[in-house]
Symmetry: C2
Subunit: 131 residues, 2 copies
Amino acid sequence: MESFDIIAEPNRRAILSLLVSSQQSVGEIERQLRMTQPTVSKHLRVLREAGFVESTVDAQRRLYRLKPEPFQELDAWLARFRRFWSDHVDALERHLDRMDPSTPTMATPTKRKTSRSRRGPNRERDKGEKK
Amino acid sequence: MESFDIIAEPNRRAILSLLVSSQQSVGEIERQLRMTQPTVSKHLRVLREAGFVESTVDAQRRLYRLKPEPFQELDAWLARFRRFWSDHVDALERHLDRMDPSTPTMATPTKRKTSRSRRGPNRERDKGEKK
DNA sequence: CGCAAATATACCTTGACACGTATATGCTTT
DNA sequence: AAAGCATATACGTGTCAAGGTATATTTGCG
């Protein structure tokens, strides 16, 4: 499960973000992200071997597009903590807004004020710390 | 946003996972994860500086517990791709571009089977390159 | 057929980081 | 106050990965 190392690299994250909109060729990525071509190719290789992307051949170009599995894997790991933080949002209320499991949140890193965090299916909260 | 580098380290992920259940002291972490004490302390430092954990003093021990913000941040990033993968899990069969709850999602190729219906604007996903 | 375009790979250098050992700091108990 | 446990930090070392430059490979075109 080295998926975490993959997305640790900023340029790779940039590439992945770029591929969300549509598939791209190496050259297009190169130009949009202003990286040298070998750098792009190498990152794409890493991403491909880790299953984040796949490529098809279009003449002399390679078109790269996202594959979902590794993201699901990452999400599965994060899920462990989701219970935790969804418990605490109301404790620290003023940090993020809501996270609805069925709504594609466009949450930008900027935190907004607050908006009546609705707590849907919630687990029990406390756990019994306090030694 | 270096949160990604933080969770790239396996030991740090282990520590975080350990803290999900309840807060722990350095020594407890050390024993459960069989890491040397300085290693634990250093990882905890990194985690603290990145906002993943916070500590309270209990006599000569420090009790570490999770903080939610960085996880929400990570989730916010992943969210961009969530739309993508929830669309594409069954798009591997590549002949249904709808998300009808009753869509006969036939055997998913390899992995698990996700039956997540989507709602909202919808997907656009360009296409039609073929040179 | 030879050249140009697009992409991949090889080699090298550099820097970051994780670990271990040793030591410092701090609190607690006699 | 001295000793001892719990945690933090300093330093030296090895590893690994990312970027750059140069080159190989494949395909298209005149």
